[in-house]
């Protein structure tokens, strides 16, 4: 019990990273059904946005972080929008082709980063007010950078929930996901909605990238470290389910942290994967599903 308590903050920290990485996928993969393998590279582009602001433009670490968040959202969002406009929309209904296509785009982005910034990792300094931590019950330390990421993830979730449930374009988005044809007959421009969904989903990847510079390496292959976990979170949460993604991310984070408390990290990863397989055997549709009366 004590182990569980001490690992709680660590679990929340891991969960919030997973949540940030998976939030964007929840849109493109979960809601639109597009397997975008380049999503990891969008995360990488977000991280390099912060690097460029700091190293090339010369902003100080704190300004870099705050300016990079909206800028990365705009840049990767635009990249995603262009990807959807130029390539993906010609491949709707052909998941295998989309997978290969976006995998290729991912490799192009990786190589572009390598040519532009060099193969070694680059340094994005953490603002000094995020470097320390708070000590709880003697043994547990919560890092400020983790708290920041947790707050960022929760803010993003709140903003998305508001957008999807309260705003007009958000409700239209949900309508299109529930029943594309019916939504179209009511006058919703589904093409426009698809483009908007892709913009938001990809933009969230950029925000995740900026946040990840606080806790991990910034290099051309940054995205590949997170992409598998992000897909897992979306699948476990149930496709297109915001609350499912949130719960799945924190559940996975906590599970990881608890297992790691008594087994080493290698073994913990194995046990978590085994648990995921067992879960999907009994509940392949994930935690939550969309209830619908349509025949498809």
């Amino acid at each position: 019990m004590e182990a569980l308590l001490t690992q709680l903050p660590t679990g929340l920290a891991i969960g919030s990273v997973l949540l940030l990485a998976a939030l964007g996928l929840n849109f493109t993969f979960g809601q639109m059904g597009v397997i975008n393998m380049a999503h990891g590279e969008f995360i990488m582009v977000g991280a390099y946005t912060a690097f460029v602001l700091h190293a090339w433009i010369g902003l100080d670490p704190a300004t870099t972080l705050l300016a990079a968040l909206p800028l990365a959202f705009a840049i990767t969002g635009t990249l995603g929008w262009l990807l959807e406009l130029g390539l993906i929309r010609h491949f709707y209904g052909r998941p295998l082709d989309t997978l290969l296509l976006t995998f290729g785009v991912g490799m192009i982005l990786q190589q572009a980063a390598r040519d532009l910034f060099g193969a070694p990792n680059v340094d994005v300094p953490t603002p000094t007010w995020l470097t320390g931590g708070i000590t709880l019950f003697d043994t547990v330390r919560i890092h400020h950078s983790r708290l920041f990421i947790l707050a960022l993830a929760l803010t993003a979730v709140a903003a998305l929930a508001y957008y999807l449930h309260r705003s007009r374009p958000g409700r239209q988005m949900r309508a299109v996901i529930h029943n594309r044809d019916l939504a179209a007959t009511t006058g919703i421009n589904t093409r426009k909605i698809d483009a908007a969904t892709f913009f938001i989903g990809s933009g969230l990847a950029g925000i995740a990238g900026v946040a990840l510079t606080l806790i991990g390496p910034t290099g051309p292959t940054l995205g590949t470290n997170y992409i598998v976990d992000a897909f897992l979170v979306v699948v476990i949460g149930g496709l297109g389910q915001l609350r499912g993604t949130v719960i799945a991310a924190f559940a996975l984070g906590l599970l990881n942290a608890t297992v790691e408390a008594w087994a080493d990290a290698s073994l913990a990863k194995l046990i978590v994967f085994a648990a995921i397989i067992a879960f999907l055997q009994t509940r392949p549709q994930g935690l939550f599903t969309v209830k619908t009366r349509s025949l498809t």
Partner: protein, 404 residues
């Protein structure tokens, strides 16, 4: 598909024939009146490219220097560059190609132990000679490889000696989950038992792992005297960033790393690792006359933003050592060169090094350095004498269980 086995058999037969012909015509392999062909075999693509490209650059620099200086035995060195693509099977196949169809007189290459083990049978079968430039886990001494990086008694054991001298008696071990860290930690554990040191914990994480909160909190909780770090690659970035957030400082709990060199520090962020320790045989800041020439030549060729590291320097030395051995033997033939290896000595950037003919490892000095604010490493300790290589740790009583 039925024809496939026939093709494979045919290819194998052809390869064997070529190899056999290569052996029966001494003195002609890859050498003509003006040139000598050598192979360069590194990963230029894939995950290992980040490290191996730097080593390739160093080898190329040495070859250019030697060529400008008149070549080897009056012949210009012509490198054939192959890409191992971070994949063991590709390494073996490319090695076969270099030895049989390019007739390379020698090959400079590989980085990971996995790739070295993959090409080893190819070099033994074709009687080739490979120059391996990276520190490794020891327990190997092939006639067809010259090991120009450190073996365990030239890096890990001296590092432990240093920690013990500083009065650090409790160690926390953290490493990536593969052969080098596991072997290194076996040695460290045996050393600790023999010298009354305490191993607080031994933790492994998968390659590419980025979540170190649990381990860094655990380190902060245990307060060991020092951490011995055998993590590889990107994981070091996450580890050092999160260790700093966990409030562990180099003054109280120094981390000694054996796989973090100048090249990696920039990505980790100098302020995350300042004050921590590394164990190598060479630093960019090592004060020798050959080193100032090496650093100058390297930055002139590749740009002032580039740094030099231990594996790069070892690869650079490999070419010069090979040249010296060829000139000693007055022949490019592998058997003649091998016979001339023992005692070959050069003034390298890391100081005077010489080849120990029995193990085909180098006699070299071991150093401990401290990362400074500029992201370079200052030497703070070195062994008084160069250390004779002992890849099987036969001269250490406490290690008797390790090599049985």
């Amino acid at each position: 598909m039925r024809t496939r086995p026939t093709h494979t058999a045919l290819a194998a037969a052809l390869a064997l024939t070529t190899a056999a012909t290569g052996c029966t015509t001494p003195g002609t392999a890859g050498v003509d009146e003006d040139t000598v062909t050598v192979g360069m075999l590194h990963s230029l693509s894939g995950t290992m490219a980040i490290s191996e490209v730097t080593v390739r650059d160093a080898v190329q620099l040495a070859i250019d220097e030697i060529n400008a200086d008149g070549g080897v035995l009056g012949r210009q060195i012509e490198p054939v560059i192959e890409d191992g693509a971070s994949d063991e099977a590709t390494f073996a196949e490319r090695a076969q190609k270099l030895l049989t169809s390019d007739d390379a007189a020698t090959v400079f290459g590989t980085w990971t132990s996995a790739s070295r083990k993959a090409v080893l049978p190819v070099f033994e079968r074709n009687n080739g000679l490979l120059w391996y430039p990276v520190q490794y886990e020891g327990l190997e001494a092939s006639d067809n490889i010259v090991y120009t990086g450190a073996t365990t008694n030239q890096q890990i054991i001296p590092a432990l000696d240093h920690l013990r001298e500083q009065g650090h008696t409790s160690l926390y071990l953290v490493g990536s989950d593969y052969v080098f860290p596991r072997t290194a930690n076996q040695i460290i554990t045996a050393y600790a038992q023999a010298h009354d040191m305490d191993i607080v914990a031994e933790e492994y994480t998968p390659m590419g792992h980025t979540e170190y909160s649990t381990i860094t909190n655990d380190i902060a909780h245990h307060e060991p005297d020092a951490v011995f770090n055998t993590l590889n690659g990107d994981s070091n970035v996450s580890f050092f960033q999160q260790l700093r957030s966990a409030g562990v400082h180099a003054d109280d709990t120094p981390v000694l790393s054996v796989s973090v060199a100048e090249e990696e520090i920039d990505g980790i962020g100098a302020d995350n690792i300042t004050g921590h320790l590394t164990a190598w045989n060479y630093y960019q800041s090592t004060e020798t006359e050959p080193n100032s020439r090496f650093v100058q030549a390297f930055t002139d060729t590749y740009g002032t933003d580039r740094v030099t590291s231990d594996p790069m320097q070892s690869a650079y030395n490999s070419v010069h050592l090979w040249k010296a051995a060829v000139e000693q033997a007055d022949s490019f033939e592998v058997d003649d060169v091998r016979a001339a290896l023992d005692g070959i000595t050069i003034d390298a950037p890391e100081g005077t090094i010489s080849i120990d003919g029995t193990t085909q490892h180098l006699v070299k000095t071991s150093r401990v350095g401290q990362v400074n604010d500029d992201g370079l490493i200052d030497q703070i300790w070195s062994t008084p004498e160069p250390i004779t290589p002992d890849p099987y740790l036969e001269s250490y009583d406490w290690a008797s269980d390790l090599h049985s």
